[in-house]
Subunit: 584 residues, 2 copies
């Protein structure tokens, strides 16, 4: 028997118990397709991160096994992904020169640090922190990163040596180098890009309509496009000896399994990587958990966000100790895995086996693989990240959300990826605070013939000149406490006949200590002015809380269960008038 607690630590125990022949064959088929897709991707994303090609393979072996044991998604395909590779490059190029031992060490340290952070967040059940990244910020970040990644790969397509971390820097550097464009490289690179783009957009309908393949087969065949590009361009380079003529190739890739690696334990290095590691962890987690949830929902399975943190955490730790770099669940790869029929995380173990076999036996085949082909793979892959429709929809729906999205994009493109995310999150929070600091508030009156009270500006209602009711449509907390005071004082100043003010709390879910002080101030000041202060429709939990202060003892007026009861007690004439109004 397996106890529930052990299966909570090791979710693999749950599905391993029912693992049969059907699952085996489904998982094997999915693994073969994902492996074919993953080989060029892992090489390409290692290049994107500025790392040797084999590091991409290493990051696609043990991390997949670790996730299979500890993750909670049945379909998530873990490994190097574009956005995290971009973040990795941006981070470690700050602390070391690309191509050096230190650069590789920093990548390994970053994976370990990120893994430990994810694991800690999982153990402390801090999955909710991912909520701080609003959809518009994520969407703006992913789109801008996609653009940045695509532009960063143009140098490989042109065969020039451009550099820079922002769009402007890269554009400037590319423009300067444009005249040095290498003809053969451009031919291979643009050919591969055009081919992959054609595969992505045209091949599937062609295979289905002309060749008559079933949808699934057409889909899967189209996914093999990058492998075809790799084979053809490598063969071209080998046959025509193009590498001696200046076409940049992947070159010698060491054969063998991932080496056991001890990440550098330098305090200074760790502390300079810490902020970035946190960012990479959170972004990787958000990307991963979004795709995992989408896929799980299709099979009515559930994803445990905190278990996902543990799964991704162990995957990154495994990556660090086997010479890899930060990994997470990839969007397109997971969708392929799911569509190809993966039933359990065992598909990931099979994929890892396939990549391990590649690392052991097939690396000499990459000798003549042009970097331009890998760049083409990346460019066509990230184009799908660019979602202009989301930008348009957000702009139409909410200007504040759009502001956060636009700021994220501009800063990612113009300053840097990390600054962009931090700005986006900060701005989302600030805009939320700003919005709730000036809450919607309405003076309300009674709808004739009912017990309902509505905004006097939107409805035809009955009001009393002596009893003024203000409804605030927001929880009362530090950000809007002062605004509440101002609103009440202004209202009373403009209504000299008022003897009673009722604060209608039907939309107030919380009154924090700052707002409590403001209510106390309002009560005292209104009392000085000879006005009695009442509350109505205070919710249970809010009332429980108020009872723990002296406010209810000091309150000059009363707390009414319903607004109708308040008006019946304070302005019976008005209530009668509202009843008569219905009769006419």
């Amino acid at each position: 028997m397996i106890s529930p607690s052990s299966s909570r630590i090791l979710p693999a125990l749950t599905w391993l118990r029912h693992y049969g022949r059907r699952e085996l064959s489904s998982d094997l088929v999915a693994a073969i397709i994902v492996t074919i897709m993953l080989i060029p991707q892992s090489l390409a994303y290692a290049m994107l991160a500025g790392l040797p090609a084999q590091v991409g393979l290493y990051a696609s072996i043990l991390p997949l096994v670790a996730y299979a044991l500890f993750g909670s998604s049945r379909a998530l395909a873990v490994g190097p992904v574009a956005v995290v590779s971009l973040l990795t490059a941006a981070t470690i190029s700050r602390v070391a020169e690309p191509g050096t031992e230190g650069y590789l060490g920093a990548a390994v340290a970053l994976a370990l640090l990120s893994g430990l952070m994810l694991l800690t967040m999982g153990l402390l059940r801090l999955g909710f922190l991912a909520n701080l990244l609003s959809h518009p910020v994520i969407s703006g970040f992913i789109t801008a990163s996609g653009i940045l990644i695509a532009v960063s790969q143009l140098k490989h397509i042109l065969g020039v040596d451009a550099h820079g971390h922002t769009l402007v820097q890269m554009g400037h550097s590319l423009a300067q180098q444009l005249e040095r464009t290498h003809g053969w490289t451009l031919l291979l690179g643009s050919g591969a890009t055009a081919f992959l783009f054609w595969v992505r957009t045209q091949l599937k309908p062609l295979l289905r309509k002309r060749v008559g393949l079933p949808p699934f087969a057409a889909d899967m065949l189209a996914k093999a496009g990058p492998v075809a590009a790799v084979v053809v361009t490598s063969a071209t380079v080998a046959v025509f000896d193009l590498d001696t003529q200046g076409v940049s190739v992947v070159g010698d890739v060491p054969q063998g399994l991932p080496p056991f690696t001890v990440p550098p334990l330098e305090l200074e290095l760790w502390s300079s990587l810490a902020t970035s590691a946190l960012l990479i962890s959170v972004i990787g987690f958000v990307e991963s958990v979004s795709v995992a949830q989408t896929l799980a929902a299709k099979k009515r399975q559930r994803i445990d966000a905190n278990q996902e943190l543990t799964g991704l955490g162990t995957a990154n730790i495994a990556s660090a100790f086997s010479g890899g770099f930060p990994v997470t669940g990839g969007f397109s790869r997971s969708v392929v895995n799911f569509d190809a029929g993966a039933e359990t995380p065992m598909a990931g173990v099979f994929t890892a086996t396939g990549i391990a076999a590649t690392a052991l036996f097939f690396t000499p085949l990459f000798q003549a693989l042009p970097k331009a082909t890998l760049a083409a793979t990346i460019i066509v892959a990230v184009l799908s990240l660019i979602d202009l429709g989301a930008i348009r929809r957000t702009y139409r729906y909410s200007k504040t959300d759009f502001a956060a999205m636009a700021a994220t994009m501009v800063i990612v493109l113009g300053v840097g990826v990390e600054a962009g995310v931090v700005t986006g999150v900060g701005l989302s929070l600030a805009l939320h605070i700003w919005r709730t600091s000036r809450p919607h508030a309405a003076v309300v009156g009674q709808v004739p013939g009912t017990e309902h009270f509505r905004n006097i500006e939107r409805h035809s209602v009955v009001t009393s000149p002596q009893v003024l009711t203000l409804r605030v449509d927001e929880s009362l907390y530090f950000a809007n406490a002062r605004y509440l005071e101002d609103t009440v004082y202004d209202l009373v100043a403009r209504s000299p006949d008022v003897s009673d003010v009722i604060l209608m709390c039907s939309a107030v879910n919380v009154i924090d200590a700052s707002a409590l002080e403001s209510l106390e101030a309002i009560n005292a000041r209104l009392r000085d002015a000879g006005v009695t202060f009442h509350l109505s429709e205070v919710k249970g939990p809010v009332m429980d809380n108020l009872a723990r202060s002296t406010f209810l003892d000091d309150l000059s007026g009363r707390v009414f269960l319903s607004q109708h009861q308040a008006m019946e007690a304070l302005a019976p004439d008005t209530v009668r008038r509202a009843q008569v109004a219905t009769a006419t």
Copy 2:
């Protein structure tokens, strides 16, 4: 004629028009009392900031005139205050050695920077940013700063050379130096402290009951305590030549008006001071605007927060150009000014004149003034900042507010004043996000015999097995969008008979773009499961916003004006049952 716009830029124009003999005499009396109070305070707070005594006087002349012209409070007394002086010391001791030219330059630069920030915030109408500082965080910060300031002055009372910026550092340093305590200094210092404490707590009742002075006179006489301490201890030092025997004295203070000062325009210095300047600005503004509002309310006047920013901004710029350091509106001094009868900001101009006369003629009198006396003044003044009652009340009322308060205090005392405020603000925000990320949500049913729907767990209500209504008591935004999805899916999973889900939005004031995506996801997923999704009681502004997206077109169910209408349409039997229940 003065146009309204010019009086908005220069509020002084408003009150200057009606300035008469009555105002003049009231303001003069108040100014004399405040000047007597301000002389020892300005010297003491300059010492607290690590600056020469005359800098305190300089900061109490032009800034008062600038505020009188541009500020909106009639009673606020601007000048050096304890907390801002502490923050100033913490900031500039990071960039320069106390006692050097650079230290003085940094203080001037900090005042200019802070002034420019306040002015900019005023022009951009960013006064609402002060709302980010919740009452518990401010209260915790002020109490902890008070403790820190009091402890930091013990070295002057003991006559030793202790140092440190945290409570532990200072305690440790004091303990090491304890044996070197200087007898004469201790005698003067503890004597002054005891005297001032007695004045503060005992003298007023004594003057009223025994001597029979009217309350106001007793109050004002008690305020002159520090001056008496200054005179007596200075005389003692002068008569017994105690300064030659090791009693630290203020010493030579240059005679003359504030020098015109050009603040150092070093980019590096400015950028290293920027964060602190922002913090000093915001804290100074919050302290100032709180006391200004309290005093204005007593006379039914209003404070314009953005005009206050302008007033304090110009005061700090004036301070910088006249060799001063950061200033703000002081609490106790403003209360004295108000109680003494100040009618207009002209009282501040008169006070400035008094301090200018002091700087011109009376500085030789401070020659023999012991630093221990100034320390005693500070200690007794800041003790009133320590508000243990507020800590207790906050603890009882709200554990989250208390957490933010306690964290602020612990970090201020243990790490530093700036870190404390940043932690407090960050934690307040995080706790607010955390709280709203798990909003109160309730399944509701109909209260028999009414059209009201209430929480099924708190009330005896009628429900339908097919129609499930969820009320979420919070605006729907990025922090709780995922939680909303989880809650709905869990509910539906637990209720297999459900055919319709109604989301009751009576407490939803905003649906942001993230929450919109979640609603779209819920709608799609429930549709897949054969469940229809409806909304009820959507507020006007929220509905207007939803209409700008495609959500309402895609919604599988309907949007009902009221929950009662929704139930009448979807579960007429249940509504009938609720009616019958009332009849029995």
